[in-house]
């Protein structure tokens, strides 16, 4: 009996951690920013030339790793300084604030030794010996070499020190006990590169694999998780949920994945955050701004080659949509969506995505589509395409039924095929996103 209780206890702890793990969210996602978009300015720190000197090569390597690892997506809060952290990641159990990794000796990593940094990157153990919550992607960063870790730390030590202490995490028991993470660490970790190289794989493929499974930590979002927050076996890159946004299927599935995309489509998307098929918004917009738009063309191409090698996920049966809902949805679409997406949803390439044959629209889980309609979404700006093109929120304008109808219509028109959406689905997400009483943002309404 005691044994059983112990097992149940472990399971409860695991499931709580798991829940927190894949429900963590970037706090900016709900309300679109009313202020200037300065994120590209912050990202440009990662492009600042490093002067020649004795360890210039190491520092340049470290700076490039900071781009590959997408550090600033999390270690930068709104109106904050680069690397100073303090971004609140919302979980059902409270808020985790990202740490200060600037060179400040008291608040940042200024006093860290390479050994300490390696333990954090490899084992998820912080500078004080404490367990780090796995929102920090050490299960992927462990695939970096010791030399990479040393270079990254050397670079971070050159950043402007910011004497800023992020707020304490606001977590409820038992999540506030960091040792609980040790239990989670017993679960299987994500795969390591170089273990399953197919025959005939090119060096470029291997580079792509190393980037995706290593610093890129792509599967942290794009692989579905089991109850305990570990990879679902056999479903790698088949899409997950993050921050109530869908992280789409990256496999060769032609409906929900990258099956219709070419290598060049993927490369352009990673480079500019937009292509003729889609736009990178939500968390992926940040990934483009702080990471993929700052990579070399070769690395973007390698990632694309690797992703195109992922075999298609198994398709699921799709329930037919109710004709009455489709008819209502068509009317809402014509009224609310065609100003940008145009009649027949052909869109305007690289500006407003076409919605036919659109993978995001057809994800099995409609949450992404609903989120975009309710909260709006901003495309991640990039150095070559700085326009933060933004779809506005429609939460103030459309009822739950209207959002359900138009989503069902979009998911089942122009070649699309996906399960219908109900008003209850919309109501639930609306509540989660706290958009129940939304009106026009303060600087746009009548007042």
């Amino acid at each position: 009996m005691r044994m059983l209780l112990r097992v149940v206890g472990v399971l409860i702890v695991l499931s709580l951690i798991a829940g927190a793990y894949f429900a963590w969210s970037l706090s900016h996602a709900v309300a679109l920013p009313a202020g200037p978009v300065t994120s590209v300015a912050a990202a440009k720190i990662l492009l600042e030339p490093i002067a020649d000197g004795p360890n210039a090569a190491q520092l340049r390597q470290g700076q490039y790793l900071a781009r590959l690892g997408d550090c600033l997506s999390c270690h930068l809060r709104a109106d904050g300084e680069p690397f100073a952290g303090g971004l609140g990641l919302n979980t059902p159990f409270g808020v985790i604030y990202t740490s200060n990794i600037s060179s400040d000796p008291d608040h940042g990593i200024g006093k860290w030794t390479p050994d300490q940094f390696y333990r954090a990157m490899h084992d998820g153990i912080g500078g004080g010996g404490q367990h780090l919550y796995p929102a920090f992607p050490y299960p992927w960063f462990r695939n970096l070499s010791r030399q990479d870790d040393d270079a990254l730390l050397a670079y971070l030590k050159t950043t402007t020190p910011v004497a800023y202490q992020p707020p304490d995490n606001k977590l409820v028991f038992p999540m506030n006990v960091r040792a609980a993470v040790a239990v989670w660490n017993l679960l299987p970790l994500p795969p390591q590169p170089g273990k399953q190289t197919p025959q005939g794989a090119t060096a470029e493929w291997s580079r792509g694999e190393a980037l995706v499974l290593g610093p890129g930590h792509c599967s942290q979002c794009h692989t579905p998780r089991n109850l305990f927050g570990a990879d679902k076996q056999g479903e790698a890159f088949q899409g997950g949920l993050l921050d109530n946004f869908v992280s789409p299927d990256l496999t060769g599935n032609e409906r929900t994945g990258l099956g219709r995309w070419t290598v060049d489509d993927i490369t352009e998307y990673l480079h500019t955050g937009r292509n003729a098929r889609a736009a990178a918004g939500g968390p992926m917009g940040d990934v483009v701004t702080y990471s993929t738009s700052l990579m070399t063309d070769e690395d973007r191409h390698a990632i694309a080659v690797y992703l195109k090698s992922l075999s298609a996920s198994t398709d699921v049966d799709v329930t037919a949509a109710d004709p009455a809902s489709m008819k209502r949805g068509a009317a809402v679409f014509s009224d609310a969506c065609t100003a940008c997406h145009l009649e027949n949803a052909v869109g305007q390439p690289t500006l407003f995505p076409p919605l036919g044959d659109n993978a995001v629209a057809q994800q099995n889980d409609p949450t992404g589509v609903l989120h975009i309609i309710l909260a709006g979404v901003r495309v991640g700006p990039s150095p070559t395409r700085p326009s933060p093109l933004t779809m506005p929120s429609f939460a103030w304008k459309l009822t739950d039924q209207q959002v359900a109808d138009v989503s069902t219509y979009i998911r089942n028109s122009w070649g699309n095929r996906a399960s219908p959406v109900t008003a209850a689905d919309v109501a639930k997400l609306r509540s989660t996103l706290q958009l129940d009483e939304v009106r026009l943002t303060d600087n746009s309404g009548d007042h």
Partner: protein, 589 residues
Amino acid sequence: MATTLKPVEAVIVGFGWTGAILAQQLADAGLEVLALERGPWRDTSTDFATGFAQDELRYMWRHHLFQNVSDDTLTIRNNVNQTALPMRHLGSFLLGTGVGSGGVHWNGQIWRFLPSDFLTKSNNEQRYGKKSVTDYDLTVQDWGVTYEELEPFYNQFDVLCGTSGKAGNLNGQIQPGGNPFEGVRSAEYPTPPMPQTYGPTLFGKAAAELGRHPFPHPTGNLSQPYVNNLGAQLGACTYCGFCEKFGCGNYSKASPQTTVLPYVMAKSNFTLRTECEVLKVELSPDRKHATGVSYVNSAGEEFFQPASLVILSSYILQNVRLLLLSGIGTPYDPQTGLGVVGKNYAYQTMSSVNVFFDDKLINPFIGAGALATVIDDFNGDNFDHSGLGFIGGAYIAGMITGGRPIEMIYTPQGTPAWGLAWKHAAAKNYLRSFSLSVHGSCMSHRGNYLDLDPTYRDIHGRPMLRMTFDFTDNEHKMSDYLTDRAAEIAKAMNPREIKLNRRVGSWNVVPYQTTHNTGGAIMGDNPANSVVNKYLQSWDVPNVFSMGAGAFPQNAGYNPTGTVAALAYHSAQAIIQQYLKNPGPLVQA
């Protein structure tokens, strides 16, 4: 007590079109640039998103994007014998505020002035005699800059905006389909003209039958998606018909937001502070050098911002007021004709002709800010003015900027302004009517000027600007002549009836005419006749530059934004290539 802030290399006062252009140019040249904007941050998705951008009540009627005249306005009179009173409801022109300012709520009509427009005095003197430019107490001047000098900078603005149009004169070769009267262009428009709808097409056909030379209006409402030289993206216009007085919800109208801001906001050597109103340019004791600007933020805190370079890029009425409040240059005196600051305030002389059909559905709700077919046969000096008794001219446009229900329902002559008869006329004519716009020049006049009001003050206790303005006989004669030319085309379209809306009587603050105020900080070739030199640099305080249509010595028969932008780029280049290397006057007096 004002807090003194860390010095910057350049401070930009006002963040609309010219502020954004100068910010981008100077920041790219490596300067530490700070922009101060009195109004709020504004962006597409939060301030004029497609879901609510087309709200006529909010934006047109309640002036949502415009200056709040209960905080600050100007006083107005027609002549020096009247007492000026504050304008407490915007009417004839709509003053912008906030990031992007008028560049947010303009129509997107992008014009170049004619080569002869820059030589108003010398060209008319030569062709029509000395009297032609002094009749009616006109005070017209040459600009001190030529079309040829500005051509590359006009081009630069076209490349920024992705202007849609058809060149009429490409490197001296007249092009079919374009404006044969325009100055020589060195490049075709970046994007093709907007496809014309039925009304403008009918206009073009009728005008051609009369021997005129119709062409599509050059426009910043784009005909196709465009990526500009800064990587910023614009979409293709969807003809929703909500441009002027509105922000564009789908990124298809050129504005600072769509063309410059995505780029410049990301520069680490550029900073924007919103809701910071500049009160004054501070000068050194000898008054020959600006030390910076004083400003107040929305919390009422005062600051002194030291700067090596001061760019005045607020709207002309604010720019002129700042010059007067700061004591830069000698104020103009209409009695003696001496002094220059406030001199040659001018405007735009508008009239129109409404056309009503029985058998043709015009569908005016399919519109865009610059959706028009135009003739330029009677603009500037494109025609012989001998014996006409006026100088200047206008373009005539068969234009459908929209069919907005509150503002844009046309009813025939004799229709009551309200009640059942109006309703019947509105219902009968809404889909079957549109308007020909006569967009006329406005010459400068000895009695038209700007100065500080002796009585009224704003919320900061500063004197308001006082505007003294009326149309002169030159403008009335020009407008009548041009309105008759428009009526000829209107009749040639074989409508059921037409209605002439002539420019009659004194200028009034109602109804809306245009927000094309010009002059007051005029440019010229010497300090005796102008406030700034050809590079928009103050003759008196060489580290102050004054942007905008305030520099126009008189106004041409075109919308001003293209020329305002070209002058800004021209100035920016001179600052970067000449001034920074050797700070001081760029033109020796």
